[in-house]
Subunit: 651 residues, 2 copies
């Protein structure tokens, strides 16, 4: 007992949203977003309550507030505020008993029942004096005047009641007036605010060494620079380069992942480090650091942000192996352990020992690699296999970087069990690779997208829907050919606001290294690959059109605004993406081999349409307009012609 | 960076269950219960993990541990421990990388692939040395021997591998061996362990003043004592008495809640306090404190625990009004505010001002009232309208009491919005009144029971299914008569392990004070009521039988073991209650007016039955046996005869 009672909460605040794992992790938003806040707030008795969200942006010393509104039966309160700067925001909820509001509400009932309210008016005056004491300026003066009017026994009761019930007084008397009565939610919750491109953007992956017209001649930043305008013109935002560092020669892999390289084989860019340097060096065949800077600047001018690969592993020739053998796993015979997944061996790679004795040295060195490239204009990193390095390391290093550079984006390339993928997103990764490539049926897509958009994941997990990667050429693309590539492009670009293509996709490259493998034949991972970007049947025009539509339609720029529509034939997927003033119905034939038809259910009520009045939809892909009527509407899609519609509701 | 890295978690532990609001509130269990614990536990890479729950009981200084087992794909871990003492228990989860387990698993794969494992055996020996250093006694010796055997280059590799893979070594080498590698979940969670009767018991409510044969003669503890054997014989566990304190005379209510009492009117026991004393006094017409003590002892001998009412409000004649006017709400004219819900006035009651200046004095006084009755053998309190007093007060006072007397049970009589009712249960109430009386259709019962048994509420909200109360005579009972009383008795006693009856129920008293009211005519709240317990048609025999079945069938002693069965006619409710070796199918006709028949779906697979083989069920109410076959089985229930079955599956 004693004074501790004074600190006890007058109001209960719980069930605050958004909130991840009791505030252990932040939720994610983009610059300019509104943050919708909810909470369960209640107290004993029949008193009214007032509540607000208090929030502040990075480096703000003072808190701002926004009032919450409520739904009585549910004891649920709602409010919002905007996050207009990059970095870490904080918010929490405060509530207090609304004494004047309660008194005023009771007064109304007493007056209506014809009761004598003279004693009550004196109580009201006391409450207004209290409010005045906590107020300043004109508000204070108004409150004092009102208090005097309520207490004025000379005036008639009707006049005093009219003053007491005036709406303006409700605002003036809004609390809290007494710190002891203010209850604050027990945790301050945080929000990471990223650049808009973290939430909406199109990625393109390119091996600069392949930007050559002769496979025997290694491409360079200079040659790659020539392709920037074409990539930008297709509407991409981020240009992701696999590792650009020196490549080891010891146990170098040959073409098609051969255990032994032939002379002239260029090796895998992920076998990082050679005599020319490690993670902070540039492969001499690609150019110099100055040429890289020039490339980044040229990309920026074209409207493309360069993303680098952050792959924390070393070839046996990496400088760290000699300088810091203690950063690796040392075997009893004093050799360094190469990568293994017994009984498989990966002798061209040494994993780092993140819990070694000099972990401070190693962790700082890893962080410094990021800082080095940030200094050279890179603000986006695609992180290779983060689930094979400690989760605690990622949480630490991402915080270290974002504290100084809140504009940096980290994409997690983890393909592992669901909870590990989610954990990486929670602890700091800005975006995440997904299972999208393996979800090809309507049922799979619906289930997975529902999880991504309707569960708590939508608060922290930003899916990046790469339609292919150098490691993943799905059987669906192998077997479905060009129509399959068109289908998956349309799905990736409309289901998710962030998506990506690995170069070669536009040429529908789909020959696996062997049947049953998801690896490419003659994979660019192990060799230079020359392509004809203008080859017949290429998808550049379609990509350009779809990226343009993404930029023009707000509904395609958000994640959680997705809902699936009934389609009577389940090989045709239908979904709605909606934003204020922008309602899209996307309908896709998932079968790359055959035309199909179906009846699609349009959610008339949600769209504000009536059963009887026809409405018009415009296919943004073809320009065709259709007049539809009622909930069931006919669609026929031929994969040799239209694989899908992006129908905009014409208002 | 620096040493903080050393404290970073090697393993992620999240999604720990059971846990209420991130550990803000304890979960509830009864003495002897097993606590099933689950958690998401994972780390980077492919290392194996080991995990355990650590727990301790009240006043334990050291922690006990129990291993967790896992389901790999889900990264979900499971374990359990028992709580065998009353009071507050704590638990949390610990996990660590299982180096020897990982090494051993890899060794098996290497050996199977025919690899040279001599270097690995040396690594294994180092791991065993580390384990030995952390072990003691025989285990240490065995580990040292095994380490030596693994490292013995003289021995053949096969022998060394055999030693390394021996199962016994797995147990001996079980960690953690290194405090730096031990990750502990960030919160210690708590469990309140109550007496068994908190989770399973039958309540009976009785006004002792009505234990008289002449309404003009006030009943006493002595007269009430004579009824104890009959109540005990019906199988009740708890005998709840409305307030037994002096009753105010100022603004005393008359019979049927008349605004003005007639001479001789006894008043409402909830208008507590008179010139004879307040909450710690006994109404002189009931007897003396010594007679109360005798009554409690006699009840105890009969197997009944006496529960008192804790109603924190005062009549204008309560001693506190004079001694501590500052504990009440003082109006500007220095009068004390009576209870109101404008425009309604309750002039016979003064509410307490729990946030008054001397709140320490008031709160302590309230607590001391409880301690006073605890000293007189009372261990159960039914708390009147707790939702009209501060939630913080209840959390404080319940903790104050349970710290000293962990055997005390508090039942919350709150009928208010769902979140407020749930909050009272979370913050400490042992049991709670419910909406049960207002749930009379199958759909309502299914929805409500699903919420109570399948949501998080099952962890902290123990419903006490009173079938009636002095304030609630539901229309269903008013209109349905005796069959309705039998139906609701059967439902209350089988759907919930804790249920209660207010006296008069067994006589099917169902006349409301006026049409549309849930109040009784000639309510015992305002007058002495004489009854003939042997009146024809009384339900004492049926109550006795049902309470006996509750004691004989473990399935009726738990809450969350409920599942509803399909019934083709929805006016017949069917559900299963199951415990090991005790499978019950309860089937109830909800219509008190007409017989009905239906086909009930028996969950054959869950019961281990097959479609083709007949099985026998025994109606525990009637003794009849039926041979059933397959999933669909016929039931006919006539409310004038059988209102329901409690079918036990005969094995």
């Amino acid at each position: 007992m004693k004074q501790q009672v004074g600190t006890l909460p007058r109001v209960v605040i719980e069930g605050v949203s958004p909130q991840i794992d009791a505030g252990r992790y932040p939720v994610k938003r983009c610059e300019g977003d509104r943050v919708l806040v909810e909470a369960d707030i209640f107290k004993d008795g029949h008193d009214l309550i007032a509540a607000r969200v208090v929030f502040r942006g990075p480096a703000d010393e003072t808190w701002k507030t926004a009032r919450l509104d409520f739904q009585f039966d549910l004891d649920r309160w709602f409010g919002e505020f905007s996050v207009d700067r990059l970095g870490s925001w904080e918010f929490t909820i405060e509530a207090w008993p609304d004494h004047y509001g309660t008194w005023r509400s009771d007064l109304g009932k007493r007056v209506a029942a014809g009761q004598d309210v003279r004693a009550e008016l004196l109580e009201g005056a006391l409450l207004l004096h209290k409010a005045a004491a906590a107020a300043a300026g004109e508000v204070r003066v108004r409150l004092q005047k009102a208090a005097a009017a309520l207490a004025n026994a000379e005036a008639d009761v009707e006049t005093r009641v009219r003053v007491a019930l005036a709406d303006a007084l409700l605002d003036d008397s809004y609390g809290p007036h007494d710190a002891a009565e203010l209850t604050r939610f027990e945790r301050v919750l945080s929000i990471v605010v990223d650049r808009k491109v973290a939430g909406f953007g199109a990625w393109y992956e390119l091996f600069p060494r392949s930007e050559t017209s002769d496979a025997r001649v290694h491409g360079t930043f200079q040659t790659a620079e020539r392709r920037l305008p074409a990539i930008a013109a297709q509407g991409f935002d981020v240009l992701y380069l696999p590792p650009i560092h020196p490549i080891g020669v010891t146990h170098r892999k040959g073409k098609n992942n051969a255990r032994v390289a032939e002379p002239g084989d260029v090796g895998s860019p992920w076998a990082i480090g050679g005599k020319e340097g490690g993670h902070d060096a540039i492969h001499p065949d690609l150019g110099t650091l100055a040429e890289f800077d020039r490339f980044v600047a040229a990309a920026e001018r074209a409207g493309l942000q360069v993303a680098l690969d952050f792959a924390l592993q070393c070839s046996p020739d990496h400088p760290w192996v000699k300088q810091h053998p203690e950063w690796f796993f040392i075997r009893p015979d004093n050799t360094i352990r190469y990568a293994e997944n017994p009984p498989k061996k990966y002798e061209d790679i040494y994993p780092l020992n993140f819990w070694c004795k000099d972990r401070a040295g190693l962790w700082n060195a890893c962080r410094d690699v990021l800082l080095h490239w940030i200094e050279h204009g890179v603000r986006t990193f695609r992180v290779d296999n983060p689930h094979t390095k400690p989760l605690a390391f990622w949480e630490w290093v991402i915080a270290e970087i974002k504290r100084r550079h809140p504009d940096v984006i980290f994409l997690a390339e983890a393909f592992t069990r669901p909870k590990r993928m989610r954990s990486l997103a929670k602890l700091g990764f800005t975006q995440s690779y997904t299972y999208f490539t393996w979800k090809n049926s309507a049922a799979e897509l619906k289930e997975y997208l529902t999880e991504l958009t309707r569960s708590e994941m939508a608060e922290y997990y930003r899916p990046n829907f790469f339609a292919n990667t150098p490691d993943i050429l799905h059987e669906y693309l192998q077997e479905g050919g060009r129509p399959a590539f068109r289908i998956r492009l349309l799905l990736a670009a409309t289901l998710a606001p962030v998506y990506g293509l690995y170069s070669g996709y536009e040429l529908c490259e789909n020959v696996p290294v062997r049947p049953g493998s998801e690896e490419y034949l003659d994979s660019e991972k192990y060799q230079v690959k020359v392509r004809d970007w203008d080859a017949p049947g290429n998808l550049s025009g379609e990509i350009t059109r779809i990226n343009q539509l993404r930029r023009e339609n707000a509904a395609l720029q958000q994640l959680a605004n997705l809902s699936f529509l009934d389609s009577e034939f389940d090989g045709i997927l239908a979904f709605r993406k909606s934003a204020p003033g922008n309602d899209l119905l996307v309908i896709v034939n998932l079968d790359p081999h055959r035309p199909h038809e179906t009846m699609v259910s349009v959610p008339l009520a949600e769209l504000g349409l009536s059963e009887d009045v026809p409405f018009e939809v415009e296919d943004l892909l073809s320009g065709a307009r259709y007049t539809w009527r009622g909930a069931r509407n006919y669609v026929r899609l031929d994969p040799m012609d239209k694989v899908g519609h992006i129908l905009r509701l014409v208002r």
